[in-house]
Symmetry: D2
Subunit: 292 residues, 4 copies
């Protein structure tokens, strides 16, 4: 299967390496060409544009920062849609709005191609290790065709439904719950600290008992060590995802009180110069409020 | 080691059975004697009062509903403190206020006894299986003396600190985080449902990936199946714990915005006749608000 | 002074009548011509398009529903900007986003015209009585030129600053505070009712003492009488303004926790079929939650 | 009518002066005798204890800090209840819990006396000027008997109901709404400031239009001038009232989301050393969060 990969940031790079390791023929494109070098060294072919990458690929994977970036990749004379062939599949792995996915799906369909929503859970280290989780939605047949590629880069593939925007929504929900874990731990460690309990003891208890999940391990550790730079995922990016989930929820008339609390944390963090910190840094604000 | 156990509800019963299985000599007391029968059948001795239970025991375990019940057990001519010998240890396993634990600790110390905070995580089935988690705090030596009993009823013992109220606080924090998981899942499943995603698919994705912890499995299942009766832990009991964590936090000047959101859920649930339902039933309110 | 008025809904109609009463020469335009009849009967001239209305006017007032409507009025071959002459003033009296006002101001300036932000406080009865409050911002000279028209339709004119978007922001802030009054009264009357106090007695006490302001009189009465239809200002319109203030605040990195609470009320109201009710109907939700 | 007044702080002093001015015979008592001097100079008689003050009075007014202070005044051999005669009236003007008022009412009734709830709105300057507002509840006949005294110290008397705790609740609700005004203005001025609008211009617009009520004038001015010391009413006292309204609401199963937001503001203010500041100082926190 000829695969194209567009978007070679921290996440895309790991995905590309695992595709190459699995023996796929891989064309790659990125706005900044220099980032492609590690993959070219491993045998990938450079494509000068999204159009060129898509032309001749049976499966195009995109992994970009946000709605604007995905639109920029898809649109225009040199865009992905200009190159995508009849029956080809575009699996969008980025975290983007449900509204955009819904609109793009119609445009793919109109030209005989297929859009899959295939966002991932996992930070750059999981991408590098081929240990992502993928939530895929779209036509079942297309998901099956893309499965070998998905399996090469993930430890588990979840099939969510037959509309690609459902996967986009599920990803936003997952990120929302992740920020709930961070805020919860922020409040919990603030209270623990003022009550004489070491945050480390608290997190060990939690992760050693009924909260024994990767999210609590990963974010519990960051919060205990107060190590928020370098960021795995910055505050503004997380704020964007928070905005997207609130927009999706508003469009469906769903109040999300926890998401509103988290929203105010992100806004406040940005008002106070924390733009370069990891999203888990919002946990500090509960401590600040408590005078820890 | 002679052990006494006071409080034979769903949790106490399981604890008692595991102590007997482990070969400890066990005296038991409960306000309603009938509940003691299964343990008496397995070899426990009946004690007519907390005082009588405590007399002659090196370790007294109490597992009761709330502050008032614990005070009722400790106080008075027939109370635990009237019977507790020099050097004896009282391990309070109930979820109670930090303020009460602090006050009781001083009273134990004044008569040459020791109070440990030793609250547990786990529902009645975990108690029956000897699979509780225990968070113990208090004088290190006393914790070591009590360790064999703790190990007989738990899968893991966490030593938190040297003041018993620290364990009480940690338990309240744990319960707080658990309610955050429930509220988060309530909001998440409401949004998923309105967006066309089966709550079951959402929960499977979560528990199959980075949210793979017992709390998400246990409560995700209850929420997906909307099965809130019979209750493992009722709304009013959970509301009490929420009140305790907010009081402890207020005494330490720690704002807990998530706990306030959850507080309003519990109050609303009680205003609407949900007193007999499991605490996880508050997840319904997010769906109601979304018109699911 | 030749004045044009575009947008003849409940608010625009009252404004137009007061301009005519004050003796101004008035051209009017509305998407639906029929609504113009009362003003034409009083001597206004019909203009077939925003462009035609603007041509020859020294001052154009617009009073439309939202950003899209204002853009539709301004843009295109038949739009307001196509007709607006050198040195002419456009006073936007609608409640719209600060971002749109900022963009439009630049476009006006580029063609030698001036945009004023001049949103109003008051419901249709105040517009009919010429008793609106106007918050104006923009170049001081232009405000002075428009003053006679503003005074003909209002009881008071506040000059806020020299950038038109400041008036737009101030209007959003005012509407935000108004929704805080409604939510506050909703919670307060729910508590009063459950505590045996007639909501009417509560509101009389408030408005007879330190809360003696029109907002408490107006909304207190609606809430006491639970009369939410016909709506003076519907839930979806108020939800739109709430969205605008949250967007403006987000752009400026300002958390608004009260606005988030109100946001969830509006979303919930819309999830439950309250779209035709007055914005004050969100006060019911506090009562519903309390089981009143 | 012989009147006794117990509690001679900022508020009680003003009340006493107006009673003397109106010609009432007045016995006074205060924990610290020195504070009574201004009233003794104007003709009041010193009573050595609450009991002595109550003995011989047809009407006893109490104006103390909180529940504990009111209980301390009422209880014991030298307490108010020990002195209060058959048919005498005790009007409690303090802001205290509804639960305490309900309990005390029963004790008054049991000895043939009457308790009125008669809390006041207004700050010390209003007390000094005889311009308080009084919300009275209890047996109608007793309210009429006390009316001349109430009128001597207030500009308006509101009769709320026939149970004294209803007045206590109404007072708590009024204070709650007042804190909503403060928080609302805090958020509003933070947003205005970041958007280029002078907080002063905002407050002038509000108080010059539909928010033209004493609360907005009083607190708007304090917030614009950022003058929070000396405090008219300190953060810890306001936090206490917030606690009382939340407790009353919890007992009646009424969620109050706005009160929870305000609660976190008060807790945070106390965590950050603002105990001596006026309650309006919590408005600063919205500005801090916005990085103003």
């Amino acid at each position: 299967m000829n695969i194209a990969l567009i978007g070679l940031g921290n996440m895309g790079l790991g995905i590309g390496q695992n595709l190459l390791r699995a023996g796929f023929s891989l064309a790659v494109h990125n706005r900044t060409q220099a980032k492609a070098q590690p993959l070219l060294d491993q045998g990938a072919q450079w494509a000068a544009s999204p159009r060129e990458a898509a032309a001749g690929a049976q499966l195009v994977l995109t992994m970009v920062a946000d709605d604007n970036a995905l639109l920029a990749v898809c649109d225009g004379a040199e865009g992905l849609l200009a190159g995508l062939g009849q029956g080809a599949i575009h699996a969008s792995m980025s975290t983007v709005s449900t509204a955009l996915v819904e609109r793009l799906a119609a445009r793919h369909q109109a030209q005989g191609a297929v859009l899959l929503g295939a966002p991932v859970f996992g930070r750059p280290d999981a991408a590098a290790a081929g240990k992502l989780f993928i939530a895929a939605a779209g036509p079942a047949e297309a998901i099956e065709q893309a499965r070998p590629a998905f399996e090469a880069v993930s430890q588990k593939l979840f099939v969510i439904g037959d509309k690609p925007q459902e996967a986009a929504l599920l990803k936003l929900i997952g990120n929302f719950l992740l920020t709930c874990v961070i805020e919860g731990l922020g409040e919990a460690t603030a209270l623990a600290a003022k009550g004489g309990i070491e945050p480390k003891a608290l997190v060990e208890m939690l992760t050693g008992s009924i909260f024994n999940a990767p999210v609590y391990h990963t974010y519990g550790k960051l919060i205990v060590e107060q190590q928020f730079e370098p960021a795995g995922f910055t505050v503004p990016l997380a704020a964007k995802d928070n905005r997207l989930v609130l927009q999706a929820a508003e469009a469906l008339n769903v109040p999300l009180p926890f998401a509103s609390i988290v929203r105010d944390r992100f806004i406040r963090a940005q008002a106070q110069g924390m733009e370069k910190q990891d999203l888990s840094s919002i946990s500090k604000l509960a401590r600040v409020d408590a005078g820890v």
